[in-house]
């Protein structure tokens, strides 16, 4: 989008920068970052946020274009990537669990082979659960003692609400969910209006809207989705270190570590939603050199004081990840066992009426 104009402007305004461009894998190249959502959405904004840092730290200082390709709940843009991605690592699909879940569940219309793509880099997208004080709940431990029925508002079961719904399954909570909202923003508004009383919000909204509500006593924080530690989604999320992870809450409630099909399903879906919430994928044949270049850039960006300062403000100081461990974790989450897949499909069709 807007290639010509942006190219011209960048050429004019960045003459000095291009003059210094050293040699490197991406020297003289242009990287297209495909975002399968609309401009202005959280994913698009995150891609724009990262754009200057990658331009600065990728070897060869390539020019980066962030291109939105919305449609089909991100399926259209991902299908476009499947057909048109360049194999040299200069086309990136930057997306969320909204693209991963339909792939994992094997939904109709999915033409992209997400689990075969190479993982260039990833950024966590934390999520925090909270309830209304009217429930009488004061924290994770007495969530079962709610004085009123718990009501959760969501968009669609098979999309980004899936990890939240699965967390209720893991914890064995009796939560009624009303799906069909336009987005998490309207759900947040419905919480403020007292229409729903338990909610999950992602990092930026948590920091800027829910935290003030908590301080004013209009919301009670519960837990976070958790962070990866030795391949288990058990650690506390740095965004809210005072809150337990879902793993911990289960442990406290039941006196043992969570296990079983519910936990496996939650961990798989939640790790691509939270821990690897925003992931940049490359063509399956992307050369190792390109992957190394991204990993190198990620290390440099994480060390960049400017990035550290800005991310502190925007994401509570979250860091990018890249390299073989990240790739292995993402790929594992994208290729669940047949059992987990069957459990998910069954749960979604039985409880939420999803047709496959």
């Amino acid at each position: 989008m807007r290639k010509l104009l942006t190219t011209t402007v960048t050429a004019l305004m960045g003459l000095a920068a291009t003059a210094q461009a050293q040699d490197g894998y991406f020297a003289g190249k242009t990287i297209d970052v495909i975002v399968p959502f609309g401009t202005g959405g959280a994913t698009f904004v995150s891609a724009k946020f990262l754009e200057p840092y990658f331009e600065k730290h990728l070897p060869g200082n390539p020019q980066i274009n962030v291109i939105d390709r919305p449609g089909g709940g991100s399926i259209l843009g991902a299908n476009w990537f499947e057909e048109n991605a360049r194999a040299d690592g200069t086309t990136v699909l930057f997306t969320t669990s909204s693209t991963a879940n339909p792939f994992v569940l094997g939904q109709e219309g999915v033409e992209y082979r997400l689990s075969e793509y190479r993982v260039a880099y990833s950024h966590p997208f934390s999520s925090v659960a909270y309830v209304a004080p009217s429930t009488g709940v004061t924290g994770a431990d007495d969530i079962r003692e709610s004085s009123e029925p718990l009501l959760y508002g969501g968009i669609a079961a098979a999309a980004s609400d899936l990890p939240a719904l699965l967390s209720f399954e893991v914890l064995g909570l009796d939560v009624r969910s009303v799906l069909g909202f336009n987005g998490r923003g309207p759900v947040r508004l419905a919480f403020e209006q007292g229409e729903v009383n338990i909610d999950y919000q992602f990092t930026p909204v948590w920091l800027t809207q829910v935290v003030p509500s908590v301080e004013e006593g209009r919301a009670v924080p519960l837990w976070t989705g958790g962070a990866m530690e030795n391949g288990v989604l058990s650690a506390r999320d740095p965004i809210a270190p005072d809150l337990p992870s879902v793993y911990e809450v289960y442990e406290r409630m039941n006196g043992e570590a969570p296990s079983g099909i519910e936990w496996d399903a939650f961990q798989g879906i939640a790790s691509v939603t939270y821990a690897y919430g925003l992931t940049g994928y490359l063509h399956p044949d992307a050369p190792q050199e390109a992957l190394d270049a991204y990993a190198e850039a990620v290390a440099a960006i994480n060390a960049d004081p400017e990035f550290q300062a800005e991310s502190q403000e925007v994401t509570g100081g979250a860091r990018l990840s890249a390299g073989p461990d990240t790739e292995a974790a993402v790929k594992a989450a994208l290729s669940p066992s047949d059992e987990v897949r069957a459990y998910l499909r069954n749960l979604l069709s039985e409880k939420y009426g999803v047709n496959f």
Binding site: K3, G40, V45, G72, A157, G183, P186, E195, Q209, G353
Partner: protein, 645 residues
């Protein structure tokens, strides 16, 4: 508060920021005029540039663009009859009819002034966002939003027209188009035929452009000559100012309807514009001129759409919930500058809030003035043969449609819906109810479902619901009482209540074709509806239950009244066929070759230009099309059979 407001005004008058604001206004003005490209396109094209500016300048640039789009789109709607943006479709109906009668200046004058008032009312609401608008937004829970959708439907019912069967069938058809895609209530994808393209449903832009724009272009091309058969004088604005003043209260009420529309999350300006238009019809005694050029229709819709796009910023700034599509992109821009909207942002950065207010207020006034200034030049275009304008117009509509998903589906859908719009136009089906049905079906279904899930039936007794319900019930009671009294006094003198919508001269064979097509669609929809979850069936059934019998009855009526008059509009059919062939050709061999062929056909065959001037002009049009494709999207469609672009 006043101090901060003045400080903000002062900071806006920094030369760089004013320049950015005006640059945004220029881009917004141009995009408003290009049919199918509106606020969203203007804002997303400006987005990369704002990062080179400081935060206030960047935001001012976007606001300049947002607040002028619904002023300048009046020009296209009135002069060309193709809606400059979906939310000005009513203006295209009434304003263009006026333009054809040589009253373009009157329609435009009222349109610009009403837009300005709408913008100013919106700015005022934004100014009082924290004390007044915010609490109102918080009062509007899902039951109240559902009631507002019902009010919209109630106002829209006055657009049905005289031929009740055709009007209702058109509305049902619109609702049916609106339920395509994801169901709100349960995880069903309705009527997608396994096509990923349809997973999101139809794009409003494409439906509005197809039903109105394409059909209009076809008729004007076939008619030959210029857009107006009379000389269009747009230098004398006096009549427009007088009409505006006579309708000032209507404009104000329409602006308030627009403001409310802005408060509803994710419902853009289209819904409130139609509601305001319906309100204009209901509140006008002599409804005979609606559909044939009624200035009150222009006044109401232009007042509403500008107010909506600005009050969209209220939920955006107070709750981070974008009120409409352009506001969503603006929200993204705020994020990128490190502003995270919410009540806190407004108390912490009051100068930013007031900068926004001043930017939209200033753009509303200057925007109207700019439109007054450029219109006389543009009006000259209406006297040259339409075929010369048609070539770039059709291609710009293609680009506008292509913004939806950038796949071939957009182009196919534009011309398929164009064919439907053409059938409706000639079959005597009013198109306004169809578009209203389309726009309202989504929010109605969503809010009804959420309301019933969250509140059961207790929502019916909520005070907000009762207040909003009174908007419907009181006029109905008054009407009923008046009707009773009138019946007692005089038996016959019944008021001409239905708005006159042209339909008397419908082409009978086209009406028969359309009724048959409609009946087949409804019958198929009925069959597929039974495969959905029960919760997803309600809205489609709301369309099918009246739609199927109505279309069957219309088909039967069509057979009985059949007259072989198809040839009357056969000339237009050729043009429709060419456009459909163009879509297929783009799919097969990519953009370049079919586009050149289409331009050549329009200029040489339809406009009968001389080869040399056609070559020069055609090359220029082609270059502009490529440039626009390049600016808007990196890649024009590539052929499926021969991979050219």
């Amino acid at each position: 508060m006043i101090d901060t407001a003045l400080v903000a005004l002062d900071s806006l008058f920094d030369p760089m920021r004013l320049a950015a604001l005006f640059a945004g206004m220029l881009v917004g003005g141009v995009f408003g005029m290009l049919p199918g490209l509106g606020g969203v396109a203007a804002v997303s094209i400006l987005l990369p540039f704002i990062y080179y500016l400081d935060d206030y300048s960047g935001l001012a640039m976007l606001l300049g663009a947002v607040s002028i789009v619904y002023t300048s789109d009046t020009i296209t709607s009135v002069l060309l009859g193709a809606p400059g943006s979906p939310a000005s479709a009513p203006t295209a109906i009434e304003g263009h009819a006026l333009a054809k009668q040589g009253q373009a200046a009157r329609a435009l004058g009222v349109g610009f002034l009403a837009s300005m008032v709408g913008g100013l009312v919106g700015s005022l609401v934004l100014f009082f966002a924290i004390p007044i608008a915010g609490p109102i937004v918080l009062m509007l829970s899902t039951p109240e939003l559902f009631m507002l959708a019902l009010v919209g439907l109630f106002f829209a019912s006055s657009m049905i027209g005289k031929d009740l069967a055709k009007g209702l069938a058109a509305a049902a058809l619109g609702v049916l188009l609106g339920v395509v895609g994801p169901a709100q209530a349960a995880a069903d994808f309705r009527f997608t035929f396994g096509q990923v393209y349809l997973l999101d449903g139809f794009s409003l832009t494409i439906v509005a452009l197809g039903l109105f724009g394409v059909a209009e272009v076809i008729s004007m091309l076939a008619a030959g000559g210029g857009i107006s058969h009379q000389r269009m004088e747009v230098s004398h604005w006096g009549a427009g100012f007088r009409d505006f003043w006579a309708n000032k209260w209507l404009v104000l009420r329409a602006s308030l309807i627009g403001v409310l529309g802005g408060f509803v999350p994710a419902v853009g300006a289209s819904a409130s514009t139609w509601v305001a238009y319906g309100h204009a019809i209901r509140s006008t005694k002599d409804k005979s001129k609606f559909g044939k050029g009624e200035i009150r229709g222009v006044a109401a819709s232009e007042g509403a759409n500008n107010a909506t796009v600005i009050s969209d910023l209220v939920p955006t700034l107070l709750f981070s919930v974008p009120g409409g599509p352009a506001a969503a992109i603006f929200l993204g821009a705020l994020f990128s500058f490190g502003y995270y909207p919410g009540p806190r942002m407004i108390t912490q950065n009051p100068d930013l809030m007031f900068l926004i207010v001043w930017s939209v207020a200033l753009s509303s006034i200057v925007g109207a003035a700019l439109c007054f200034a450029v219109t006389p030049m543009l009006a000259r275009l209406t006297r040259i043969p339409f075929a010369i304008i048609a070539a770039p117009l059709v291609l710009i509509m293609v680009i506008g449609a292509y913004q939806a998903t950038s796949t071939m589906g957009d182009i196919f859908m534009l011309f398929t819906l164009g064919a439907l719009g053409w059938l409706m136009k000639h079959g005597g089906w009013p198109r306004a109810p169809a578009l209203v049905g389309f726009v309202l079906s989504g929010p109605m279904e969503q809010y009804f479902w959420l309301t019933n899930q969250i509140h059961g039936w207790t929502w019916l007794t909520r005070p907000g619901v009762l207040v909003i319900a009174s908007i419907i019930v009181i006029p109905l009671l008054m009407q009923g009482w008046r009707w009773l009294r009138q019946r007692r006094v005089a038996e016959i003198a019944e008021p001409d209540d239905a708005a006159e919508v042209p339909g008397a001269d419908a082409n009978r064979s086209i009406a028969l074709v359309l009724a048959t097509v409609g009946a087949v669609m409804f019958a198929y929809a009925l069959w597929e509806t039974f495969t959905f979850n029960p919760a997803s069936r309600l809205m489609p059934l709301l369309a099918i239950v009246p739609g199927l019998p109505l279309t069957l009855w219309l088909a039967w009526r069509g057979v009985r009244e059949y007259r072989d008059d198809f040839a009357r509009d056969g000339g237009e059919l050729v043009i429709l066929a060419v456009l459909l062939a163009y879509a297929v050709a783009v799919w097969a061999v990519g953009l370049t070759v079919p586009t050149l062929a289409l331009i050549a056909w329009m200029l040489l065959v339809r406009a009968q230009m001389r080869v040399r001037s056609a070559a020069v002009y055609g090359a220029a049009v082609f270059a502009v099309v490529w440039l626009l494709f390049d600016i808007m999207r990196g890649d024009p469609p590539v052929g499926a059979l021969i991979p050219l672009s």
